[in-house]
């Protein structure tokens, strides 16, 4: 099992969700997050005073999947979240040692 953590542009959430559901993903967790990347944020002007926006709002998606669909899941996220402009985000993949469904006690693949 793998955990995919993807940081994406907020307005791309619906597209990414649709692409993953089409792949047969059963569930996902979404978090509103803020952060910066290589651009280090940007500046705005308010009433003549320039100010820095150091942390830009993003959406973080967490999904746990079976190993065999890892490549198709990551490429689905890449294709659906891409705008070709800076700030499209990143995808991280982690190994998952176990999973348990709380209601039934099912474990690992059955719990996903």
């Amino acid at each position: 099992m793998k955990l995919i953590t993807a940081i994406i542009k907020p307005f791309k959430l619906d597209d990414v969700r649709k692409a993953l559901v089409d792949l047969g993903i059963e569930g996902m967790t979404v978090t509103e997050v803020k952060g910066f990347g290589r651009q280090k944020g940007h500046t705005e002007v308010y009433r003549g005073a320039e100010y820095e926006v150091n942390f830009i709002p993003k959406i973080q998606i967490d999904i746990v999947i079976k190993d065999e669909i890892l490549d198709s899941a990551t490429s689905a996220i890449v294709e659906s979240a891409k705008t070709d402009k800076v700030g499209d985000g990143k995808i991280f993949v982690f190994d998952v040692t176990s999973a348990i469904r709380i209601r039934t006690g099912e474990v690992d693949a059955e719990a996903l």
Binding site: E44, Y46, R47, G48, A49
Partner: protein, 427 residues
């Protein structure tokens, strides 16, 4: 009921008749009714400006100061009304006779014998009272987010009971400025600059918000709600038709009705001019239009035309208001350079555009002169600034005017009121 209706019909028909006859053909009662009606309609429109200021200020402060800003606005409006009834009105209007102030006859308004004139005495009191309250509203915006509630309200009592009425007596009460030939139709100087001077003195003595000016840099503190600030500005714009239109002080003749209508037109055009120049200038200077500057631009346009809303041509009104917008766009960052923290932009809008509006009166009104306009601006400015500075200093050295830095960081809503404007919002 029928009698009243009949009276109205007669009233209207005499007005129609007067189209071909001299304007004084209207029945005496009709004149009284229409003049009083103008005071009442103008008055409640200006009263509604208190709501406009409340919403503009609520939108321009950070969300941790919104409940306090609303508290200050409802309190100052109530206190202004009482102070102007107890002392202010007679100090401003009763027996000034070319002098410097009226009578200290407390608790005696309205004088029943005054009803015998061309309008109801109570309608005049109400109309003048809401102007006085407007002056106090101007001060609260500048000093937002760091001034304590009680000393602010004490200042409002003195502003509305004494400071505003005395300088108002000089002109509108028939005092020495009106004898000199000074002209301030609806109060660019008497209402707006007076509020602006009081606010400026407060801002200097109170100091900037914590963290506002650090290492020579300005920290932007974006307001909590642009929709509220916009609604507040629209409410003020609406109220201004009462402010300027009502200041014709009469609606009982064809000439007056025509003047009030011209004033509405010029008032609207001047505000529009202020917005348009703010759009153009912020786009050029900052590459993006700044909404809050556009809102300030509308108000600066309105303040600029307030000293003379009747005489300018429509094009002149747009230019006068448009220059008000220019003043805002350049004065807001200039005040920041001087480290004068004016949260809502009241000093550029009310003080500077008020001075501009007063000085430009001779351009369209040949009965005035730049010199007397200048004397009016300077004498009222010196008086209001001096007295305000003394009051702020006394308050500062006795009960203190500023909340603690910790209270400011936590937010004045929680620290002073134990309340939040938006308790359900996630931080």
């Amino acid at each position: 009921m029928l009698k009243k209706l009949l009276f109205l019909v007669i009233g209207f028909s005499s007005v129609t008749y007067a189209m071909t006859e001299p304007a004084n053909a209207a029945a005496e009662d009709t004149v009284y009714v229409f003049n009083t009606l103008l005071f009442l309609i103008g008055g409640f429109l200006v009263m509604w400006m208190a709501a406009g200021f409340a919403m503009l200020e609520a939108g321009m402060v950070r969300s941790k100061s919104v409940a306090m800003q609303c508290t200050k606005n409802i309190s100052l409006y109530a206190i202004a009304g009482i102070a102007f009834w107890v002392l202010g009105y007679n100090l401003m209007y009763d027996g000034v006779d070319g002098g410097f102030f009226g009578s200290f006859t407390a608790f005696s308004v309205p004088d029943p014998s005054a009803d015998a004139g061309d309008y109801s005495a109570a309608s005049d009191w109400f109309f003048q009272m809401v102007f006085c309250a407007t002056t106090a509203s101007i001060v609260s915006g500048t000093l937002a987010e760091r001034i304590k509630l009680i000393p602010f309200l004490i200042f409002v009592v003195l502003l509305c009971g004494v400071i505003y009425p005395i300088q108002g007596a000089w002109q509108w009460g028939g005092g020495f400025l009106s004898e000199l030939g000074f002209s301030d139709f609806a109060g660019s100087t008497i209402v707006h600059s007076t509020g602006g001077w009081a606010a400026l003195m407060g801002a200097l003595i109170l100091g900037a918000r914590a963290g506002r000016y650090v290492d020579g840099k300005v920290t932007a503190m974006p307001g909590s709600s642009m929709p509220l600030a916009t609604l507040g500005t629209f409410i003020l714009w609406l109220g201004w038709f009462g402010f300027n239109g009502g200041s014709q002080l009469a609606l009982g003749s064809l000439e007056d009705a025509s003047s009030v209508s011209k004033i509405f037109m010029n008032t609207n055009l001047a505000a529009a001019g202020g917005v348009v120049t703010a759009i153009i200038l912020t786009q050029i200077l900052y590459k993006k239009v700044d909404l809050t500057m556009c809102l300030n631009g509308a108000l600066a346009g309105l303040v600029s035309i307030t000293a003379e809303p009747l005489m300018p041509s429509p094009l002149s009104a747009i230019i006068i208001g448009g220059i008000g917008g220019v003043i805002v766009v350049f004065a807001v960052p200039m005040l920041d350079k001087l480290k004068i923290d004016d949260v809502v932009g009241a000093i550029p809008v009310h003080l500077l555009a008020g001075i501009w509006g007063t000085l430009v009166v001779p351009w369209s009104n040949p009965d005035t002169s730049l010199i007397t306009q200048f004397i009016g601006v300077i004498s009222i400015g010196l008086f209001v600034s001096a007295i305000s500075a003394v009051v702020w200093f006394v308050l500062k050295s006795t009960i203190g005017i500023r909340v603690s830095e910790e209270a400011e960081q936590v937010g004045i809503d929680k620290a002073e009121l134990g309340m939040e404007a938006y308790p359900d919002f996630t931080k």
